[in-house]
Subunit: 216 residues, 2 copies
Amino acid sequence: MSDSRPGVADLLGVLAYAELTAFLRLAEEAARHAPTLTDRAALGDLAAAEYAHFRLLRDRLASLGVDPEEAMAPFVDALDGWHERTAPNDWLEALVKAYVGTGIALDFYREAAAHVDAETRSLVEEVLADEGRCQFAVDRVGAALEEDPKPAGRLALWARRMVGEALSQARRVAEARPELAVLLVSADGEDVTRMFNRLTEAHGRRMAALGLTPGP
Amino acid sequence: MSDSRPGVADLLGVLAYAELTAFLRLAEEAARHAPTLTDRAALGDLAAAEYAHFRLLRDRLASLGVDPEEAMAPFVDALDGWHERTAPNDWLEALVKAYVGTGIALDFYREAAAHVDAETRSLVEEVLADEGRCQFAVDRVGAALEEDPKPAGRLALWARRMVGEALSQARRVAEARPELAVLLVSADGEDVTRMFNRLTEAHGRRMAALGLTPGP
């Protein structure tokens, strides 16, 4: 496999814009919703980590001779659309979004890692190593629900909406960028649906971690 | 000099909250106003650097046995007030704010460096080493004004408002936290007004760098 397949620039481009916009949105949500300065700093930590990932991806694109702006441009509408449809209304929603959104992104990295060249893969693995960063969100949501379980139903719906919107934006991207879709499923003839199922299962595990298990 | 003077925790606290909130606001302004993804990333770079500074200051507070949240709390209203009164309306205003705001903060670090213990001073110097990061804002404002000088008058007023609001918030802080004021002027019997004059002069130099020289 070589770096020159068109899908690789797309893959790095979508991840780069996802990180850039996650950074900016998390910072905004930290400023708007965090109840204490410690909470604000905790979400800020996560935002800063997203930015560091963005830089890795941008540098990788540049080293491949690809203009990062051009590589990101095709994905701006889908990712901005996702954020607009999942703007949290309070701190708990912001935490669930941080955890679920980052989780979906990391699943996508994991899928991608199987299909890229070794150098890009080591970058992906560097990002995946940061996975523990979201644990604070799980801890805080868990503590809040222990004190008052009332928001659990609302938060479960909220999380479901987030993954639903993510899948619908992902389908939109896959239709618009067939090279990217091909890259992600090319290895072993599996289809996109199977990948989406895997992402949905991972989401279910995250819901359980948050104490938001789906009803019977 | 020792770390235990009450003014030192205040000094680190005000700088820490200034960095945390600058990070969050710059990220928000980058998301809202940057005309291209490259511009968004450039302001994002600056935001991420502020966050790294915040972390240095937070860790220094913690190593002194001071709760960072408590140390920051007294300065939240003044700094939030400054940001609310200086919310940029467009990209050029955001750039001028980034340059002028960061410049004022660095002046303040420089003043502070003269009055703290060696270990805190090395932290301050680490922050000051980042000074070149704002140059992109100068370059972009310069290029924009070269193309169309019309906004120059508005931007000069905008910058003046920013420094005026900063001085008025600084006076408010100095009155509420006399230990901090004492720390900053204690070394050689100078008064706060002289320090403010020095900050105002530095601001004049920044205006000139932006091509926003005050009229005759």
